[in-house]
């Protein structure tokens, strides 16, 4: 385990403060979570922003699966997750919230999806974990923790009790590409 629930919470409190500092018009912000991991994180950030400013930010959920660039080639189709966008994105500053940012392809997909919902005034990005290996020019505005990893390893946000409702933790599993061959 690389981040426990306390560390995750602390990171999100700090990120909430940074979001408030960075933006003049708090009322124009719109938190949009990338499921599944982004959802509990966005909710926590929203409640922190409320504590700091007294302003209740809308929280949307945006599935990126239908916008992926590797879907048809893969053959097998991943299950779709839900999309709920309760407010219009036009003229708002959308803060995308994802758990683990790596290649940047999910964020590219999320931005394309977002533009189909309207024309935001700006888009900012929260990544709880930045694990590197970027393949696209995507930058995280508010990062929880940089966790350098090898390709082949997997970084995952999960609930300690099986779902994402309760305590959370970030774990690294799998092993670097080539590690098994190196041992043999």
């Amino acid at each position: 385990m690389v981040l426990d629930d306390v560390a995750i919470r602390r990171a999100l409190v700090r990120i909430a403060h940074e979001i408030v500092e960075r933006n003049d018009e708090i009322r124009d912000l719109y938190l949009v979570a990338i499921p599944n991991g982004g959802v509990p994180l966005a909710r926590t950030i929203a409640s922190q922003v409320r504590e700091i400013t007294g302003i209740e930010l809308p929280v949307g959920i945006l599935d990126t699966t239908l916008y992926r660039d590797d879907l048809i080639a893969r053959g097998e189709r991943p299950p779709l997750r839900r999309t709920e966008m309760p407010s219009a994105v036009d003229d708002r500053v959308v803060v995308l919230v994802d758990d683990v940012v790596s290649t940047g392809r999910t964020i590219r997909a999320a931005m394309d999806a977002l533009m189909d919902f309207g024309r935001p005034r700006g888009v900012q990005l929260v990544g709880l974990v930045d694990r590197g290996h970027r393949e696209l020019p995507i930058k995280i505005d508010f990062v929880g923790k940089n966790i350098p990893t090898q390709r082949g390893e997997r970084v995952e946000l999960r609930g300690t009790s099986g779902d994402l409702e309760g305590a959370l933790e970030v774990v690294v599993h799998g092993e670097p590409e080539g590690a098994a061959e190196a041992r043999a």
């Binding site: 239908l66 048809i72 053959g75 299950p79 709920e84």
Partner: protein, 309 residues
């Protein structure tokens, strides 16, 4: 597990059906957006190959394909060289040479989609073949019931009409049974095939008994041209004994819903005042057809060109 083609509900298991229905729910959200289009099948080609006329199923597939950004080509015999005695398989092979990512087939003869699937590289989706199957109709019917009732276990679904000649009845029988509902088939004896009970349904020749406690009443279209034959004495007699109206519906549950695959013969299998209003959900079925076909295309279109076996 789902194969590469969707030829019938018979080939799917409960998990497959649930997966498609859940995907359809997500697709329905896309249909509620301002921009009702996602780039999932961009650059892919969908061919609608309809040897038998159909407006709603073809249109529904066309809209579904376009909402997923596929290029949709409609091909129907009247506008093709089929009239020049080109065989069905030759036609399909010609289309296949244009490298479509999915071919949607309707034909009046059972088994044609399977024959075409065996010959083509592209995945084939059956849009109705003879009296065999019409899987996407059954899926949209299940989707409509799920939206209305929230479950399948413990539900009673009564299908009424010419069961023998109905691909809709057959696909729905498989689908609802696999999902855990009880399926009853009601028809005059000449329209009830022998042996339906081996498929897990209960057969009734008394409409009243079949309706007793039903949660869902599915009314099939009566093919008037078949009535000319020997299946039933007259349209009027069919309407009187098996036609569904509000009075007969009283035998069913209070919250019964009435479905029909369309197009409706008002005053024959369903009363005029019942077709457009609750408890009838016929227009919801049409609406849901697009989301369900998007889910089917998502699941089946554009798979890599390797065929098992």
């Amino acid at each position: 597990m789902m194969g590469r083609d969707l030829l019938g509900i018979e080939d799917l298991d409960r998990a497959d059906l649930e997966r498609i229905l859940e995907t359809a729910e997500r697709m329905q959200e896309v249909g509620r957006r301002d921009v009702k289009k996602v780039p999932t099948l961009r650059g892919r080609t969908l061919v609608n190959l309809f040897f038998e006329p159909s407006t709603r199923t073809r249109t529904s597939f066309e809209i579904a394909g376009k909402r997923l950004s596929a290029d949709v080509v409609n091909f129907s015999p009247s506008s093709s060289s089929l009239t020049k005695a080109e065989s069905i398989l030759d036609t399909a092979m010609t289309l296949d040479a244009m490298a479509p990512d999915a071919v949607v087939v309707r034909h009046k003869v059972a088994g044609v989609p399977k024959r075409i699937a065996d010959a083509l590289a592209a995945p084939v989706i059956n849009a109705g073949d003879g009296a065999h199957e019409h899987p996407t109709q059954a899926l949209l019917d299940c989707f409509t019931v799920k939206q209305e009732k929230g479950r399948f276990d413990g539900l009673t679904v009564t299908i009424i009409g010419d069961i023998t000649h109905s691909r809709v009845a057959r696909s729905n029988l498989y689908a609802f049974s696999k999902l855990g509902a009880e399926v009853r088939l009601a028809a005059p004896p000449t329209m009830l095939p022998a042996g339906v009970e081996s498929l897990g349904a209960k057969a009734y020749t008394s409409l009243r008994e079949a309706l007793e406690g039903a949660d869902v009443v599915m009314v099939l279209r009566i093919q008037q041209e078949r009535m000319e034959g020997c299946f039933f004495p007259s349209i009027r007699e069919y309407a009187a004994t098996f036609g569904i109206d509000r009075k007969k519906l009283r035998y069913a549950k209070d919250d019964v819903i009435v479905m029909h695959p369309g197009p409706v013969n008002r005053g024959v299998e369903i009363a005029h005042d019942l077709a457009d209003r609750r408890p009838s959900v016929i227009l919801d079925q049409v609406r849901n057809g697009v989301a369900v076909r998007m889910a089917v295309l998502y699941q089946f279109a554009g798979r890599p060109a390797t065929r098992e076996g």
